[in-house]
Amino acid sequence: DSKGTVVVFVPSSTNPYIGQFQLGAKEKAAELGYDIKVIENNFNQSEQDSQVQQQLASGETVAGYIWWPFENAAGVGSLRALSQSGAPVIVSNQYPIKGTEAYWTAYAGANDFLSGKTAAEILLDACAKADAKCDKGAIIRFPAGVSAGDDRATGFEDAVKGKLDVVDVVPTAGFLEDEGYKVAAQIIPARKGELTWLYTQNDSLAGAAAQAARENGLTPGKDIFIVGGTCHGDSKHVKSGEIAGTAIQSGYWEGWMAMQALGKFVVQGKVVDGESYLEGTPDAPPSDADPLYKYNFLPNPAVANSQAAYDAAKLWGKTADELCNF
């Protein structure tokens, strides 16, 4: 009665976002009647490569693969190998590299360009609403060499071209608050009076930046506008209005939709060329009967920076709290 096993390759669930991803995938798989096997690596692409080899060598027949590379480009070899097995391959989380289209069935997951763009929109919106003059600002980005950081920065910079002035792009050494704080606490005082906004690529870093701003006598949301653009664990700073706003990026739904995409392919047997931004409806997740596109993006619905807005925000039947504060 099981429709087969889906094998999911992900980095380690010591990162809670990845834990959420697994949860979403598992719940959707159960709903669709698949067994699921999650193979974790410790943020190590070469480890994942050998796990892929190992899995392929097992000769198991699987219903399909969900592949979340740690290092997108470095994992292309694994992706090819998976594709050569004949089973459908759904890529998730990392926007596939141009030219690899033949190696995967469909992409289902977040869009980092979109995330950067959404952040830009939130920021511009906040500046407009506050009637503040936003010009010079800085991007505090993910560590140097992390491709999601490149993509989000590109999406952001494209969207603010001509409207805002990016004076500095500083990478952190990690994705969490402590690293964000370390960088923000140094560049904010050094460029005091100059920076009018900060884009930090996620809310963990944004919260830390807001804290650093306050400690330097700047009121976030008034003297400086800070946006992370993806909710990431702690929504305190969004609710309090310190962060200009956020967008729901849900690990749960990302895993869920990757699994859904696989299910769709098995049932429908075809992929429609082109991109599809799944609709960010509040109440019900998109139907399994919708067509599967080559690119299926997780919606990043923006959430305004107030408790009320936060409470009201929902995506596909789950509240922002459930989705963001994992």
């Binding site: 974790e40 410790n42 190992q54 060598a57 097992s58 480009a73 470095a74 140097a144 060499g145």
Partner: protein, 320 residues
């Protein structure tokens, strides 16, 4: 039977036990492609562990191998247009030279290599980021098929895994049967004694570090070619895995003891364990816990056996 053979047999036994326990639950452990994949999975840490092991035998430790491999990976992908073999040779040679330089500095300053290579570990990683412009570098997709031969399997071997095995045999041979190798053992076993006996200290240190760096370069290069890309942040975890393989394989941190074949055994013990736990779908922390537990088990067992043999030897000396 010498005590070293005995200890290697014991380690081999442990490896087989780990293998059997996991093979009982994972069918791919005894299929031909499965074994091929296991061999492949050991290539990176394996090639690097040979070099790290050699420096440990010399009573030193090269901590910079992960950064060196990442550096080599970036360089070799950037040199890909000149052909894979020339790129590989140039990179390995260059890394070997860097390693020799590092060894020479360590010898000349008479400084602890653990201290020195922490510096190069950081600096080389930074240099890698600079050289790569902080971006992953790729082989153009139209050329990616040119690297397929690296993944092709002949029976259970691929070119990289065959390279690993050949290197193990080669370096094991060099370390066991040549003057240079024996010097490495000699200075690791007793630097002052070896010097008094007329052994040069410079040569073995330079040789060990340049082999270690060249092998790290080779591993980084091969792996990057195989995947068609290299990341400036890559290969960060490989140092600890390589050191763990050496320790489980019986290389003493104090130097002078152990063998490269032992490293291979240690390596596969970890690979069997880690791959197996991952393949069972367990979360990463189980792999982490299991590796830690295995390492603690092995070193405590070693300490206990060492204590008993010392006791016995002393007793024998007294009755004699």
């Amino acid at each position: 039977m010498t005590s070293e053979t005995k200890s290697n047999l014991a380690r081999l036994g442990l490896m087989i036990v780990v293998y059997l326990i996991l093979a009982a639950r994972i069918p791919s452990y005894y299929s031909q492609p499965g074994i091929a994949a296991l061999l492949d999975s050991a290539v990176l840490a394996g090639i690097i562990a040979i070099g790290v092991g050699l420096t440990m035998i010399a009573g030193e430790m090269d901590l910079s191998v992960g950064s060196m491999a990442a550096f080599a990976g970036i360089l070799s992908i950037q040199l890909f247009p000149y052909g894979m073999v020339p790129a590989l040779l140039i990179v390995v040679l260059f890394c070997g030279l860097l390693g020799a330089l590092q060894g020479y500095c360590i010898y000349k300053l008479n400084i602890s290599s653990m201290v020195f290579t922490i510096g190069t570990l950081i600096a080389l990683r930074g240099l890698t980021l600079v050289v790569s412009n902080e971006k992953t570098v790729l082989i153009p997709f139209e050329n990616i098929a040119e690297t397929d031969f690296l993944s092709a399997k002949f029976f259970v071997f691929s070119i990289p895994s065959a390279t690993l095995l050949v290197l193990v045999l080669l370096v094991d041979f060099v370390s066991r049967r040549t003057l240079w190798g024996r010097e490495i053992f000699a200075i690791g076993g007793g630097r002052g004694e070896a010097r008094a006996a007329g052994v040069s200290i410079r040569r073995p240190i330079v040789v060990a570090f340049s082999i270690s760096a060249a092998l790290a370069g080779l591993a980084g290069s091969l792996l990057s070619f195989r995947t068609g890309s290299a990341s400036p942040l890559g290969f960060e975890a490989v140092l600890l895995e390589a050191v763990t393989a050496c320790l489980i394989g019986g290389i003493a941190l104090a130097g002078g003891r152990g063998s490269i074949l032992g490293v291979l055994i240690g390596l596969f013990t970890i690979r069997f364990l880690v791959s197996g736990i991952a393949a069972l779908g367990a979360p990463f922390w189980m792999q982490s816990l299991a590796t830690g537990a295995l390492l603690i088990f092995v070193i405590i067992a070693e300490a206990a056996i060492g204590y008993v043999t010392r006791r016995r030897r002393m007793a024998r000396a007294l009755t004699a």
